[in-house]
């Protein structure tokens, strides 16, 4: 019991520190819409690096990465590969998005699409899909925080209370401080995650096997299939490769990533952030060690849920003191909260600006938009908390489906950035065809060759786009849409 108290006390102290930093970050910026949404477009390299990094490292990364290594073995390198490749999108798209945003006052993806293609409907559609994808994502972070609290404190803090604590802290500083609050807290949370992940990864393999090298030598002896592809569960090369491509390059379509491009103080800053970004992926290396350690430890009696491997190892097997368990809980909460803060902020902005803006709030002043955005942060967080308590089984499915559809916006966004000759009809037809193809493959006939359905859908998307473009070119000599 006293152990659980120590764990709880350390974690509450950490939550208090995050709240303090988040509320203090409230500058003058937070009182204008541009300041609240994009940090006044002058966020520098260090803070932007932590914002972009910490939002990718969610509860899923912290618990799921060791889970994958434990369950599948080498296919878990998928996570390293896709995270390392994300900065390519930042490098290519970022500076152009930032420049257009500054020039034309864009704050969301929908802004850019609606303006470039002269279609409010298109912008609303992009925004709508974004919100549908972001809310389940936020729910998963909140539920993750609740589960972590409950497990690490032996039930002293139950699920509903743990989830509530984490969500109240996040909602409070996002509500008050906007993007600056997220920036400064992510700096703290990012350092916390990296330090704790490395400490745990090295300490677990040291305690159980006498070191990382010894652990892998032992794995090679007893279960070599874990160390190479196709891994312990036989994941095929086609799926492995296409899933990396869809996650790495489609990932830039996530509104919470894309919108951060607007917040950079210059294109140069975005380039610099993308240069250092692959280093962030090194955070996951020690988490993979933990998963591999679990593969050996639990070889006899497999865990019911792979993503509990980190908790089980640290709490039951490695026999750490409650201080270490308290720090582990704080680090894992840092992962969940830093992502959750970004998601709540982005979902509120997209809902207000892209979905409500052209409809209910057409006449609204900037001040009203600002107020509605703020309260949407609380409303959407509350909604996500409610969904977390209900815990519907289809949550991950909604998330993955909505993400699959978001990826189909890619050609449309590329068109708005780099290819002004692409017409509205072409990109719309492509996106619709790609989305239908994705839904058909995902829910209907299954994906050919076992590849990721997103790749096939993108092929259909591009084929229809080029077909339309060719047909239109034949029948019209006018300039590009929106020109």
């Amino acid at each position: 019991m006293s152990d659980s108290l120590i764990v709880t006390a350390i974690t509450l102290a950490y939550l208090g520190a995050v709240l303090w930093v988040g509320l203090r970050a409230r500058g003058q910026d937070a009182s204008t819409l541009e300041g609240y949404v994009a940090g006044g477009r002058h966020i520098g390299v260090v803070i932007l690096f932590f914002i972009l990094g910490a939002e990718i490292f969610s509860a899923f990364a912290f618990l799921g990465t060791p889970g994958w290594a434990y369950q599948h073995g080498a296919p878990a390198f998928y996570i390293l590969a896709y995270l390392a490749l994300v900065p390519i999108s930042i490098w290519v798209l970022g500076p152009r998005v930032a420049a257009l945003g500054r020039q034309k006052g864009y704050l969301t993806q929908g802004d850019m699409i609606a303006d470039h293609y002269q279609s409010k409907t298109l912008g609303m559609l992009a925004g709508g899909i974004g919100v549908v994808a972001l809310v389940p994502y936020l729910t998963i972070q909140i539920a993750g925080a609740g589960l972590l609290f409950q497990a690490a404190t032996d039930g002293l803090i139950p699920f509903w209370l743990g989830a509530l604590l984490a969500f109240v802290v996040v909602a409070a500083y996002v509500f008050c401080s906007g993007l600056s609050g997220i920036g400064w807290t992510n700096l703290l949370q990012g350092i916390m995650m990296v330090a704790i992940a490395w400490f745990l990864g090295l300490a677990v393999s040291e305690r159980l096997y006498g070191g990382v090298g010894e652990m892998f030598a032992q794995l090679q002896q007893t279960m070599p299939e874990y160390l190479t592809l196709p891994g312990a569960t036989g994941m095929n090369w086609g799926y492995f490769s296409t899933a990396i491509l869809v996650s790495a390059f489609g990932g830039a379509m996530w509104p919470h990533l894309f919108m951060k491009f607007y917040s950079a103080d210059s294109g140069r800053t975005l380039r610099k952030v993308s240069v250092f970004y692959p280093l962030y992926a090194y955070l996951l290396v020690p988490l993979l060690f933990i998963g591999f350690a679990g593969a050996l430890v639990f070889a006899g009696e497999p865990l019911a849920r792979a993503d509990t491997v980190l908790l089980r190892l640290v709490m039951d097997v490695a026999d750490f003191s409650p201080w270490v368990i308290g720090l582990m809980l704080s680090g894992a909460l840092a992962a969940a909260m830093s992502t959750g803060a970004n998601l709540a902020h982005t979902a509120a902005v997209v809902l207000t600006r892209d979905v409500l803006g052209p409809t209910l709030m057409r006449q609204a002043s900037e001040e009203q938009v600002m107020t509605v955005t703020r309260w949407s942060v609380l409303g959407l967080s509350l909604l996500a908390y409610g969904i977390a308590l209900l815990n519907p089984a289809s949550l991950v499915m909604i998330l993955l489906t909505a993400y699959g559809l978001l990826v189909q916006l890619f050609p449309m966004v590329l068109g708005a950035l780099f290819f002004p000759t692409l017409r509205r009809q072409s990109v719309m037809a492509g996106a619709v065809a790609g989305s239908l193809a994705f839904l058909l493959l995902d829910f209907g006939i299954g994906s050919p060759l076992g590849w990721h359905a997103g790749i096939w859908a993108m092929a259909v998307n591009l084929a229809v786009l080029f077909l339309y473009q060719a047909l239109i070119a034949k029948h019209s000599i006018r300039g590009p849409a929106g020109a």
């Binding site: 080498a74 390198f77 390293l80 590969a81 390392a84 490749l85 900065p87 390519i88 490098w91 070191g211 990382v212 090298g213 010894e214 892998f216 030598a217 794995l219 090679q220 070599p224 160390l227 190479t228 592809l229 090369w237 086609g238 492995f240 490769s241 990396i244 491509l245 790495a248 103080d265 210059s266 140069r268 380039r271 610099k272 993308s274 240069v275 250092f276 692959p278 280093l279 992926a281 090194y282 290396v285 993979l288």
Partner: protein, 70 residues
């Protein structure tokens, strides 16, 4: 200069991507030799993350290094 620069950066990105998926990772799909205590395939990913970083750093310095604008 500008065109060559973009082509080289593009090639670097393509090379790093292909190294991490099929067919690049296929040639590294082995346990021996262990490097830094890691199985070779694991080390392969660590290595290419570093190669990507170094290449982007060089590209950054060439294009944006030195003078500061804005």
């Amino acid at each position: 200069m500008s065109k060559t620069y973009h082509i080289l950066v593009g090639l670097h990105f393509a090379l790093c991507t292909l190294a991490m998926i099929w067919p690049g990772a296929l040639i590294a799909n082995r346990i021996e030799p262990m490097v830094l205590g890691l199985p070779f395939l694991f080390f392969w990913y660590i290595l290419w993350m570093l190669v990507l970083f170094v290449g982007m750093w060089v590209a950054y310095v060439i294009r944006h290094g030195g003078k500061r604008h804005e």
